[in-house]
């Protein structure tokens, strides 16, 4: 009748299979990216064009899902209850700004908040999940899951190294994150879809293309124009929101305590 009321001592968090999954996911992602960049397959509609499209789509999506499955069992329950809130905030706050006609896609604000509070693994998981949920309304976002995971991962990394302790550091970290994400996601837009999904961004790509750039570099340049600014704003707003939390709430996250993420900015 007397069952053990105590949990056993913490064992090493990742089992072998999960570690392998994480490695596999990363390898697939990196290998696909390098292959695309170095071979720069021509002809997006004829010949192997559709093969490249399918391959890129599959690789990016599978990599993201492997990373997600590798990370999920590690997340403690308070982080698990936080993630749906972050996912819904992505949707609600993203819509809200959209309604004010500002051409920003701050649909990753929840992901960044999770990265700041719960670390990079949780941030990455949130990014992938955010994409999966969005895909129910817009299936085209699926291959961008890896990019979304990267946003969360970088947010967690930035927080760990003190970018959230000073208000002006957060947008700088966002800028860097935007550059990296733009670069990683450009091959997806190029080889899977042959372009972008919006008229404004499409015009930019067309402009670069008319100046003689290949499609990949045109898309990359467009991404480097819009993504860093967008992510800088997202990181800044996320930092402000995290500052507004009571210490009892932000302090309850082990990641925040261990790496002193908020420094002196935590509300008393």
């Amino acid at each position: 009748m007397s069952s053990n009321l105590l949990l056993p001592e913490e064992t090493s968090s990742q089992t072998l299979s999960r570690r392998l999954m994480a490695i596999a996911g990363t390898v697939i992602l990196v290998a696909t990216y390098i292959t695309l960049i170095s071979t720069q397959p021509m002809g997006i509609v004829e010949g192997l064009g559709q093969g490249v499209a399918l391959g890129t789509f599959a690789a990016y999506l599978v990599a993201a899902i492997l990373l997600l499955l590798a990370v999920l069992p590690d997340l403690p329950v308070p982080t698990l209850t936080l993630i749906p809130v972050a996912l819904v905030l992505n949707i609600i706050l993203g819509q809200f700004v959209g309604s004010v006609m500002i051409p920003l896609y701050i649909d990753s604000i929840g992901t960044v908040i999770v990265g700041f509070l719960a670390g990079r693994r949780a941030g990455a998981a949130t990014g992938v999940l955010s994409t999966l949920v969005w895909s129910l309304f817009a299936p085209t976002v699926l291959p961008f899951a890896a990019g979304a995971a990267l946003v969360g991962f970088l947010a967690g990394t930035a927080a760990r190294f003190g970018a959230v302790r000073r208000i002006f550091l957060a947008p700088v970290a966002g800028l860097v994150a935007g550059v990296l994400v733009g670069v990683v996601s450009s091959p997806v837009a190029t080889f899977v879809y042959g372009g972008t999904s919006g008229v404004g961004t499409g015009a930019l790509v067309a402009a670069f293309s008319s100046m003689g750039d290949s499609l990949l570099s045109a898309v990359t340049k467009q991404a480097l124009i819009s993504d860093p600014g967008d992510k800088a704003v997202v990181f800044l707003v996320a930092a402000l929101l995290v500052y507004a939390l009571p210490k009892r709430l932000s302090g309850s996250f082990e990641f925040v305590r261990r790496y002193n993420v908020l420094g002196k900015r935590a509300s008393k």
Binding site: I44, V45, G47, L48, Q50, G51, A53, L54, L68, L69, L72, P73, L75, V77, P78, L80, T81, L82, I83, P84, V85, L87, V88, L89, I92, L93, F96, V97, V100, L129, V133, S135, L136, F137, A138, P139, T140, Y193, G194, G195, T196, S197, V199, T201, G202, A203, V205, A206, S209, S210, M211, G212, L215, A218, L241, A244, L245, P246, L249, S252
Partner: protein, 252 residues
Amino acid sequence: MSRTINLHPFTILALAVAVVTLTTAASQWWLSCAVIVLCLLIAGWAGHLKKLAVLSGAILLPTFLSLLLIHGLISRDPSPAMAQWGPLRVTAHGLEVALSLGLRTAVLVVVGLLCGLLVDKHQLVAAIDLSPVPPQLGYLLAATLFLLPQMGHKQRQIGEAQALRRVGTRKGITGWFQRVRLRAVPLVLASMQDAQDRAVHLSARGFPAAGVRTRLRTVPDSSVQRGFRWTALAIAVLGPVLILALTRMGSH
């Protein structure tokens, strides 16, 4: 008026994946159009036609325009131009490329959205819970889907309460910022506090399940459907390879 399909959610998804990959690999405009029309018909039968049309249109219209801009107007291939104004150069080939890419995306969007409309969310979550993936995945999907209307409602309530405070009426960037702060911060605070309060009770009820887990809800399945799913997935992977190999050989 909407009818539901009584298939296992994974069956529908496997079928969708196979259709999308095969259609994309084949890259024949008549096949893509046929698939889209078929999807619209199924949506009509299920009573979701208007939703499917509206949602697809909202995504595809900007995409088509963008592709037109990139490929249709600024085409750099050497074929003779149909029209030319300065840097703009319209060629038949360019338009063909734009249309072809657009159609490819359209198939993905229409099939994907149809899946989303046909699959019952509760059944999908139950199917995920009963599969070998970690229990956290089903939880996160369900929690997000259920939370969305709730938080939307809360956002409206907060909006009302803040409207009573007669603030945020200033014009310009400061007024806008104040309004955003007034709407966003309470939502974030309240929902995150809520998340923290829930966590401990979820743990007390045994979540996440450490070992075997079961569901009260039944997800009807059959060995026929299982076989179908595996076949569909195999086709989804091998089919394109075959088609592309054949196309390659055919063009040599």
